[in-house]
């Protein structure tokens, strides 16, 4: 019956327990349900609020159908479509503006003057449109009066346009990329910190409950260590994926995000870098957890890790505006900063495939080195019940 057990099987058994134990917690299920609902609601609310600018300015015109036509075509031409209606007289116009049904009521006066009735202030874009329309209308009338066909003039004038040649054209996706960057950075920070802490707490739980001695009579310390990291990491990954898929899905569905390809790329990049960043810190958190015997002492050894994660987070946040700044670029090569700065650069669209590849390799090397050190600390400290093991003792010899 007790056949030799492979490392894979042993690690899988440990990982499975960690995963199942974590996802079956009531607190875990409830908090995630709340977060997912909040993400959807937040995105829907944001899309409704930002949808406000699609409302067309409403303009009522007393008489003068020619002015209405000019206004309408001008509005179309400058990408500000107007909602134009006809008004029987000036008083009706005033009433409807006062009631908020109209933004502006146009009342033609003597000669070429036109009075624009508004509630208090007039939108500058609308004002410019009105001015242009009134001038054009006056010109057309004047030209027609002199026997010239205004359409002929318009045809000749239409070729006189300014072509814009931008040296550094603005990225039309920039706004959305910024939103994606902020989301990626914030999520990575939360997930790495939270699930790293779970690893440390899990290790201390086994140590403080003494169950670790029973476990280590059937498992190698490293099987226990990696099983735990794998199981908890899988929970973190699933949670992050759920947040990401729901967030991106809701954004695309509501039209808050329109850059589908970029959004999916950033999501994939964020998940990938979570695996790397989490593993980097998880081995260290496991080592930190193994050095103490009581939950309340965990901060004494894991505090420095939290500081590093905080610094990473601030570095990432302060480079969201300008991810191509010198220090940010330099830092993005260095593990573990790459774990949070690279997804940011991917989101901002400034990471080259080469940089992505090299930073992944660098991160893997860093993880390999750290896991050797952390495994050593873990093996040395995990059965030392009592006072906190010092770094010197943990690393010595």
């Amino acid at each position: 019956m007790s056949a030799p057990m492979s490392d894979t099987r042993a690690i899988a058994l440990v990982a499975r327990r960690e995963f199942v134990t974590q996802v079956q917690k009531k607190s875990f299920l409830i908090s995630n349900a709340i977060v997912l609902v909040a993400i959807v609601v937040g995105i829907v609310v944001a899309s409704v609020l930002s949808g406000g600018d699609e409302e067309r300015p409403t303009i009522g015109v007393v008489g003068a159908p020619a002015l209405s036509a000019t206004l309408e075509s001008l509005g179309e031409a400058v990408d500000t479509p107007l909602e134009i209606s006809e008004l029987p007289d000036a008083d009706t116009g005033r009433d409807r503006v006062a009631a908020g049904e109209l933004d502006v009521a146009l009342v033609p006066g003597s000669g070429n003057t036109v009075t624009a009735v508004t509630e208090s202030d007039i939108d500058t874009d609308v004002k410019a449109l009105l001015d242009a329309a009134v001038v054009q209308q006056a010109q057309t009338e004047a030209l027609t009066a002199r026997g010239i066909d205004p359409a002929e003039i318009a045809g000749e004038v239409s070729s006189a346009t300014v072509v814009v040649e931008a040296v550094d054209p603005p990225d039309p996706e920039q706004g959305q990329r910024m939103v994606l960057s902020i989301a990626a950075v914030a999520l990575l920070y939360m997930q790495i910190l939270l699930f790293g802490t779970y690893v440390a707490m899990g290790v201390v739980e086994e140590k403080s409950s003494r169950v670790v001695e029973l476990l280590l009579s059937t498992l190698r310390p490293l099987q226990l260590l990696w099983g735990k990291i794998l199981g908890i990491g899988a929970v973190g990954l699933v949670q992050l994926a759920a947040y990401g898929v729901v967030g991106v899905g809701a954004s695309l569905a509501t039209g808050t995000l329109t850059i589908t390809g970029t959004a999916l790329g950033v999501l994939a990049g964020t998940l990938g870098w979570f695996i790397l960043g989490f593993t980097f810190f998880a081995v260290l958190y496991a080592a930190a957890g193994s050095m103490v015997s009581r939950q309340e002492d965990v901060n004494s050894t894991s505090g420095p890790l939290m500081m590093v994660i905080l610094v990473m987070f601030f570095a990432a946040f302060s480079s969201i505006d300008d991810p191509e700044s010198g220090w940010s670029t330099t830092l993005s090569w260095i593990p573990p900063f790459s774990a949070i700065l690279m997804p940011l650069r991917i989101a901002a669209g400034v990471a080259t495939p080469m940089q992505i590849l090299v930073t992944i390799v660098l991160m893997l090397v860093a993880i390999a080195v750290l896991s050797v050190v952390a495994a050593r600390i873990y093996q040395r400290s995990i059965l030392r019940i009592g006072r906190t093991v010092t770094w010197k003792e943990a690393l010595g010899r």
Binding site: E205, S209, T218
Partner: protein, 296 residues
């Protein structure tokens, strides 16, 4: 299966914990491991389970050095009891059984069997920390037994048990040894050890001071002989062969005899002084023996 402890040594810094510990637990033998606190019992057991590494020496089962695969066939109850406090009894035992290499269905059957046997079947759905201390101990024992171990190593299995649980524990240990499993357990309850064990090992300051059956050990210790010979002159027993110590208690003389002393010679000497009303030889109990060995 035979468990062989071969010349184990272990140091913690300057302190010697084990100094060439040697003994054997044979198939079907119930072996009592006794010694004062800090004598080296737990260290020895931890080394058997690979939780600690020895500086020198080796542990073998049936002549094969104990590696991780062999170790999975051992049932272990650590001195520091411990289970996942928030995990349900049934799930926890199933998990531990699977870590010992049982398949899912084997693990389920074993958990059912042992929780039934140990009277905790109706608690399998409860978390460990919601159980009474006594029931937690039963779960701990179930954890040691659930994978049908070929060797049992139990560190202080009787500590903290109520009398009923002591009976259950004794019964289980006897049954396992009857099945041919070598069983070693440590205890401070020497009367219990004397009653249950086939053989006993006494450890003191990291060295095995005595190993043998209880009878062997008792006959190997200093026996006490009480002689009531009212007319015997003072000093009558001095110089008799095998007498190491003489004490007078009124008319009675209390003699301490070296192992293997011929008491009939002493009876003859006593009768020569006059009538002998009482002549009683008493073998030391394990407790006395233990005190003697540890004090030496």
């Amino acid at each position: 299966m035979t468990l062989t402890i071969d010349n184990l040594s272990k140091r913690y810094g300057d302190k010697t914990a084990l100094d060439g510990v040697n003994f054997e637990v044979r198939p079907g033998e119930l072996f009592g491991f006794v010694g004062s606190n800090g004598a080296g019992k737990t260290t020895t057991m931890r080394i058997v389970l690979g939780v600690l590494a020895a500086d020198a020496g080796e542990v073998r089962i049936d002549g094969r050095p104990v590696d991780l695969d062999v170790r999975r066939t051992i049932g272990y109850m650590p001195e520091e009891r411990g289970l996942y406090p928030k995990m349900k009894v049934g799930k926890q035992l199933t998990y531990l059984a699977r870590l010992h290499g049982l398949s899912k269905s084997e693990a389920h059957d074993a958990v059912e069997r042992w929780t039934e046997r140990l009277g905790i079947a109706e608690r399998v759905g409860d978390t460990v920390d919601s159980l009474s201390l006594g029931n937690q101990q039963r779960v701990q024992l179930a954890a040691a037994l659930v994978h049908d171990p070929k060797v049992l190593v139990l560190d202080e299995p009787f500590s903290g048990l109520d009398p009923v649980a002591v009976d259950v524990m004794s019964e289980v240990l006897l049954q396992k040894s009857n099945d041919g499993v070598p069983v070693i357990f440590s205890s401070h309850q020497l009367d219990l050890v004397q009653r249950l064990c086939d053989r006993v090992g006494i450890i003191s300051a990291g060295r095995m001071r005595a190993v043998g059956t209880v009878d062997e050990l008792r006959s190997g210790g200093d026996a006490t002989l009480v002689v009531h010979a009212p007319q015997a002159p003072a000093g009558w027993a001095h110089g008799l062969p095998g007498v190491t110590h003489v004490e007078y208690d009124g008319d009675r003389t209390v003699l301490t005899l070296a192992p293997g002393t011929d008491d009939q010679q002493i009876l003859k000497a006593a009768l020569e002084t006059g009538p002998v009303h009482e002549f009683s030889l008493r073998q030391p109990s394990l407790t006395e023996l233990f005190r003697e060995v540890v004090a030496a």
